[in-house]
Symmetry: C2
Subunit: 330 residues, 2 copies
């Protein structure tokens, strides 16, 4: 294993310290317990959004803390859920009196710890569970489908609604609507390597691809011989459309998300392949995002996400955002 | 070689087509010859900025076309200079009557072809050469130092000056001043793989690092045993400071640039290490940028860039920008 790091045990702390220093105009990083909040502090009367999960998916979630998106993020150790004390401390720090919405990717550890934090909290808490991964029905770390890259879209759109004054029930309902309107499927060309493990999470041959891989390197649907970008796009977009059943002419947001080790040259080629698949199915791509947003350490590969849009969701997507990883309109 | 692509010969065209479709609100992509311009077209009376070079360094340069930065980019084949006809067609498309500034990384092919285009052009052309790489004095593809990640900073700051009405001579002088105020050094943990070659550009051992690597996988200063982030930061920041000789308290911009295959978790850890090296030398980090900006296909590794700032350069950095890869203030 070769990584840009010092001691394995310090990877997360040092990365988070660097993140806080590089974006000191946007975020504050807290240690013991570990969480990231907006520099600006809580906004009275606004629903506060809190997400979190194991590290290794950067920029998710800390990179999405800031105006128009999250109020706080709780990073766990690599691929390990954060603990309820992190969530409680973060929720307390950001509560502006209108309640706190937990946005939780559907993994057993995350679900359990966020539930525990919600029960222990004195504040008003609601939870949105994301489970957009259409690849498999249950997986190593989840009961039911996994929450993956559409979580970025939920955080962006609900973040915009919260800035506009939506209440806690409204934010929860909106998050659930976006999640239901979204589907994702990913592929891996290489494994990721967890620093503490020091070796690849799984073996994969020189000419193999994992179709439907999870963001922790969990198995997908099948191991196949390496496929062309067009064939990958056909299978992933096809699987998502089977799930979402979009009507002809449906407006969609198309997200081509890199897993961390794949360069933009390839991601834009993959976007072109996915775009042609969408258009062949009569979909209208109204918004696009291409880049590394929900990663899997150094894994090579990508995921494709489609979210069915309407005028309201489109306006929430377009609304100003100012975070380390997504920024527009300000 | 496993890459997200269809036929090797179509990698660049398909990637560029995807780029154009994903960012149709910002850019227009032209084929035969190949170049990328702002969607908005030329702006009368503004100096137009044109850059280009071999592909494989994305988002450089096409990702920097848009308000506040470049007017056009000419992508060559992977790691191969674009041709004079591309540059001529692009220059003609963007000339708003105030002349065109070529921003050229110092590689023999780029220098020759941009010179040829300048000679063939009927318009007013000036050129800024970037050569910020402090690692080696001459290299495989260059007479003199190589132009690398500080090119992003030149494009951003001169782009801001051009929007504010600087004339062609002023833009050229500013670009040369920023280049002289900047130094970069990079490291590689793995080789990149050029699609048409199908195999890694160079061999590197399981526990080796290339110190001072170029962005095409060219050799650096030496091949060493893998080093900690702190040791890499000490050597790279040290070499840059030997070159730039910043005074105590000097304000700097610190760019930690990923080579394409290294995830943000590591880049932020590397930022933290570089930040501590800067502070130990009495430098004041006034601005920061962390991410993949001047890449080397799928290479794992990073480069560190320092640019000495003053009030004017800081204001050019902070000015609004709206491109695919850098966006703030609008």
């Amino acid at each position: 294993m070769k990584k840009l790091m010092n001691a394995v045990d310090d990877v997360l702390t040092e990365s988070l310290r660097g993140f806080g220093a590089a974006h000191a105009d946007i975020v504050s990083v807290h240690f013991e317990p570990m969480f990231v909040t907006r520099k600006a502090g809580p906004k009275a009367g606004k629903v506060a959004l809190l997400s979190g999960g194991g590290s290794g998916h950067e920029p998710m979630h800390a990179g999405f803390v800031g105006y128009g998106m999250l109020d706080a993020a709780c990073p766990g150790q690599v691929f390990t859920s954060p603990t309820p004390d992190q969530m409680l401390a973060a929720a307390e720090a950001i509560d502006g009196g209108a309640g706190v919405l937990f946005i939780v990717k559907n993994y057993a550890g995350d679900v359990m710890n966020f539930e525990m934090a919600a029960e222990m909290s004195d504040g008003r808490i609601a939870t949105v569970l994301t489970n957009d991964d259409v690849a498999v029905e249950t997986s190593l770390h989840s009961q039911g489908r996994r929450g993956v890259a559409a979580t970025v879209i939920v955080e962006k759109m609900v973040g915009a609604a919260a800035e506009k004054g939506a209440d806690l029930d409204g934010c929860k309902a909106l998050g659930e609507r976006i999640n239901a309107a979204s589907g994702t499927m990913g592929v891996a060309l290489t494994s990721c390597t967890v620093p503490a493990a020091g070796r690849p999470t799984f073996d994969i041959g020189e000419n193999e691809l994992e179709m439907g891989v999870g963001i922790h390197g969990e198995p997908g649907r099948r191991r196949v011989a390496m496929m062309s970008a067009d064939a990958i796009a056909a299978e992933t977009v096809g699987a998502i459309c089977e799930d979402l059943k979009p009507g002809a002419g449906q407006e969609v947001l198309l997200l081509v998300n890199g897993m961390g080790g794949t360069p933009l040259l390839e991601l834009y080629g993959m976007y072109d392949a996915a775009r042609r698949q969408c258009e062949a199915r009569g979909l209208s791509i109204a918004r696009s995002l291409v880049g590394n947003y929900c990663t899997s350490l150094d894994m090579a590969g990508c995921s494709i996400t489609l979210t069915k849009l309407d005028a309201e969701l489109r306006s929430f997507w377009d609304a100003p955002v100012h975070t380390a990883a997504l920024r527009w309109g300000m």
